[in-house]
Symmetry: C2
């Protein structure tokens, strides 16, 4: 028996149900991760491949010869193609009795949509992006177990960071060690470009790493995650290289308290935005008012920013059991530095469980 698709069925979450859903992959990085959701495949690139999902969950998998062996692990019906012509024929064959095709309007490229319209001129195209978002937000058992493993791998790397820090080291060297630790521990790759920033660079939330050298007294901000069997973790810790100043301590304590306030609110039935509002209000009542410049968290899964929902001002979805999110408040002072503390959590029946286990207290590297 092959690998099974995830237990969530997109068609269950669609008002306007098409006869089939088509997910086409293009060149890297234009790979729609819904392809992996549908096929359950845990490895491989599958550039130019496609999955066709039918309401009875039968799935056709159009795969190039370059990845035929890997594709055999899927329980989908395999159709191997060699060139564009045989790909088109396979797609026509799969969709020969279909009157309406569902596409993920959020992720389909304009050009590819035009190509499909030409190929199937009498077919109706239906937006199924909402169905994907809704279905993927609630994780099945395998997704949760896989994410826990991705968290464990990130935790193991975080634990070792203090051993690597030494005066004068470059930010990019620390990133290299973090990624190496995760891959040696079984990560397929880093979940995203590892952030390892020093000193005032920590004030810029999306700064990754560069050639800044570590100095005494610097904040060290590490934000990274592991990608394991296509599922991702995402966590952040901040260290002080040396003795922390009163200001550094105050920033860290504020963020830690804010995160705890977020944790305490999370439970099924709450609107996602309320978590953000509580965290944001808390920070805005401290000396760091206005310094929290992003949302409190995002859904996580096959994609690091998974399914377009999160703890943000505009997101009014209701939390449900088995959703996975990050909780990551921060405060940023340009020219000085920033603190963010981020963990991955699982919404449970009566609240939530923190999946990332690294200590959250401020660690001084003395």
């Amino acid at each position: 028996m092959g690998i099974k698709q995830r237990s969530g069925n997109i068609f269950d979450n669609l008002d306007n149900k098409p006869d089939a859903i088509v997910i086409e992959n293009y060149c890297e990085p234009y790979i729609d991760d819904n392809f992996f959701y549908i096929t359950g495949l845990k490895k491989g690139i599958f550039e130019g491949c496609a999955a066709v999902l039918f309401p009875d969950r039968n799935t056709d998998l159009l795969v190039s010869e370059l990845e035929e062996e890997s594709a055999k692990k899927s329980s989908a019906n395999l159709k191997t193609y060699r060139d564009q012509n045989s790909y088109n024929n396979a797609l026509r064959d799969s969709l020969s009795h279909v009157k309406s095709i569902g596409l993920n309007f959020d992720r389909v490229l304009y050009r590819k949509f035009q190509d499909l319209k030409k190929m199937f001129p009498d077919t109706k195209f239906v937006d199924v992006s909402d169905g994907f978002v809704k279905t993927r937000l609630v994780k099945d058992k395998i997704e949760i177990e896989t994410t826990k493993k991705a968290c464990e791998i990130a935790d193991k790397a975080m634990e070792k960071i203090p051993d690597f820090l030494h005066e004068g080291m470059f930010e990019f060297e620390l990133a290299a060690e973090i990624d190496h630790l995760m891959q040696k521990n079984g990560a397929d790759k880093s979940a995203f470009d590892t952030i390892s920033s020093f000193g005032k660079n920590t004030a810029e939330p999306h700064y990754t790493h560069g050639t800044t050298k570590l100095s005494k007294g610097d904040f060290v901000l590490c934000d990274f995650g592991a990608c394991y069997k296509k599922y991702n973790s995402d966590m952040t810790r901040v260290f002080v290289f040396g003795k922390a100043s009163e200001k550094q301590k105050a920033m860290h304590k504020t963020v830690l308290d804010a995160q705890r306030i977020g944790f305490d609110r999370i439970k099924p039935g709450l609107k996602a935005q309320e978590v953000h509002n509580s965290v944001n209000t808390y920070i805005d009542n401290t000396e760091f008012k206005g310094r929290f410049i992003h949302s409190t968290g995002h859904s996580i899964g096959l994609s690091v920013h998974d399914g377009g929902a999160g703890f943000s001002q505009d997101c009014d979805i209701e939390l449900e059991e088995n959703m996975l999110f990050t909780v990551e408040p921060g405060v940023y002072i340009p020219g000085f530095g920033g603190v963010r503390i981020e963990d991955d959590i699982l919404v449970k029946k009566d609240g939530m469980e923190i999946l990332t286990k690294s200590p959250r207290d401020l660690i001084e590297i003395l």
Copy 2:
């Protein structure tokens, strides 16, 4: 003075010139690398940011607060936004006098195109994808120098691989070492998911790595590259862990000879497909007829598969000085193994230069 955009001007390669070109980034991985081509930025993620390019090469850069500091390195006109509303206002402001907007139809997401149409109902939208492809194929001096550095980093890692190989090691462990070596040597990250396959897994060109253990007599196929300041290298070597069999030697020699035939043909004025045809014909006249199942190479640059051109059957572009390509013939025998040899080359006035320097002869790890 800030970082300058690349010297190629998209507008020069457009028949139907719009008043402005807009490149919008979405969430990772839906980042259009033309954003970096236009802005010249060498670091950062720039999710949700946008670049607006005018025919006089003036550029507006809409950047979120999360990456404001990094964006300041660009010489573009910075417009910082905090939320969707201020983003929309900044975009409206940039395009207030514009009657036609150029979009990259190959990369723009369908949904985002619809959003833009709603936002600018009286504006004409023009496809500028061809302009990007044409302009980006020919590299400027900085692009070539940056790519040479990316090649050098990959070469340094390739050189060390024999030191790491030991019986029983996992494929993923070798991938971890390769990525670590590249990052320690200054790569911002790996150019793509590093392929380190052993034994019969080498027969699948897009297999990345897994938990297969290294055994005596195995092929070891390593296909990887460095991403350095957004530019990429991409090379492949095959080792034999132990003494090579006659069949392994024959496969390797065939591929090496085929690559040389490709190298010898490359020069300005030749149609790209002719390189592939020569290589393919050569292989099809050996005992490995039909075992070369992909194209001979692809343009490389900001994207690993850059600009949609390459040494493939259908590509009839004429080679020009300062184009960068991979040359990567291979033969694959399912159940046995595969050999691919890949180098990055620069088209020069009288021929070409190989930028990746690792030895191409078969190395036996005895």
